[in-house]
């Protein structure tokens, strides 16, 4: 049995549990599942915006490609296009700049749950030294917290508006 199959079983069990010891991802990962049950190479996840950040009360959609060489090589993880505004995400494509997902920093002991959790943590702790969105990176670098919050909140409000109208 391949590793991703084993992971799938664990993920089902973990995320279904209400016990915080079994499921430490409560309030972090809403769902993580293959898009098509018969194809374990394409996954999607929904994460909650971390509290005390402008992303709070919003949900974000993550797309995951699991290569055949996984877990020796990292999964490819992106946000949905135009889903989020963040200094380490290229909004238009959803590309994420996260070190542990780069081949040179990846190690096979991480699994999909770890990866999605790491993306969630990136929302909480943006890294302005390696920005994909230079403008957002500069705002953080200037320590202009309110500007950052304002822009993100505006973007997310617009996102919701365009979705439901």
């Amino acid at each position: 049995m391949s590793r991703i199959t084993k992971e799938y079983r664990v993920i089902l069990k973990t995320l279904a549990s209400d016990d915080p010891i079994v499921n430490p991802y409560r309030g972090i990962i809403r769902s993580l599942n293959p898009i098509d049950e018969t194809d374990l190479s394409r996954w999607e996840a929904k994460i909650y915006g971390p509290s005390h950040t402008p992303y709070e009360n919003y949900q974000f959609h993550i797309l995951i490609d699991v290569p055949s060489s996984y877990p020796m090589t990292p999964p490819r993880i992106n946000f949905e296009q135009n889903d989020i505004l963040h200094c380490n995400v290229k909004s238009a494509t959803g590309e994420i700049c996260l070190d542990i997902l780069k081949p040179e920093d990846w190690t096979p002991v991480w699994d999909l749950l770890h990866c999605v959790h790491a993306v969630w943590r990136l929302l909480r702790e943006p890294v302005c030294d390696s920005p994909l969105d230079v403008d957002m990176g500069n705002i953080i670098r200037c320590a202009d917290e309110s500007a950052y919050q304002g822009i993100v909140k505006y973007f997310l409000a617009e996102r919701e508006r365009s979705r439901y109208h």
Binding site: K6, T73, D99, E104, D105, T107, P108, V109, V127
Partner: protein, 406 residues
Amino acid sequence: MVDELHNRLLHQGNGTKDAILYKIIESLVCSICHDYMFVPMMTPCGHNYCYGCLNTWFASNTQKELACPQCRSDITTIPALNTTLQQYLSFILDKLSSENDESFKKLLTTKIREETDYKLDKEKDTLFEKVFKNSALAVADDSDDGITRCSNCHWELDPDEVEDGNVCPHCNARIRNYAGGRDEFDEEEYSEGELDEIRESMRRRREDQFTSTDPFANRDDISSEEDSSSEEEPMREHIPQGRWASSHNRSIAVDAVDDEEDEEELEEDEEDMDSDLKDFIEDDEDDEDEDGSRRNLILSALNNRQVIITDDEEDEGREHTTDEEEHDSDFYEHNDEGFASGDSLDEDRKEAIQVQSSSDSEDRSISYPSSSDVKDKDEPDTEDFDDLQPRRQKRFRVVLGESDDE
């Protein structure tokens, strides 16, 4: 007292026994394939993986030093079969065996297959596809200011050259430990214990790196004081600064931990520091770049030593080392003994080997100078640069002699 735990276990309820058993079985699962380790191999850092998984991991990252997937520490020696874990699993399988169960049979087939794979490789002496035989280690040469050299051919490993590929530029051997270049890791992925471990190894790396990148920079310090403790001092000084510089990239929480540690180290170094100044530094520790360099200035002023790498001038620092390389190769080129310089490696090498073989027997007798010899020689080196040349020359010929044996 040997029976203490045995007896206690007998009097425990089923819940505790189950928890213990579950934990034991869990420790038999490989963190790479998430399956039972029928052939558990233990790395020098104490983590266990299937033989097959570890083999695939080493092969899948040919561009990098061999590192433990769990703690990222260098794997410099070949992992050993962990027979204790292997016996646990065999024992458990034995006790739980049920011949009619299909999935259990599968387990047994896998066990036999993996054990045979290992046995065959071991008999053929091709464990881990010989990666531990065909690769080399980066070794800090203590008799030569700690310059990092390839353990295979003794070529000097320049972090800038080795950075992409982690392969010895001379003999092409894969370097299985860190030889400079990349020094970043995600601190938040580790527990506190592991983090300390990594910090320790990073500290050691920085020492290596520092001594290997600018061997001339600290020559002043070494020449003035002979004993080994004084040689270490400038290194210690650099470490906190390097970490300080890199800590800007990290989250605030981690910064705080880092800086605290730095502060401790600094205080050790600057015990005679004026208390006013100390306060001044500590107050400013949250501020960024500007204060980092200011702090460095203060340190250098206090110690009356040359501090090269500061936050703002990291790039300059790098240029500085490049200058020195040029300087190095220049001075090899001017040497009529046929030196192989880094720049004109191919042409010079043939020549060098010829020269070397003609005077082979003579060179063989020249061994590496003992550390005390070096210190004696180091002293005049700084004052009289010409004295340095013959010493370098000799060593270089010996190096080529050894590589020629291959």
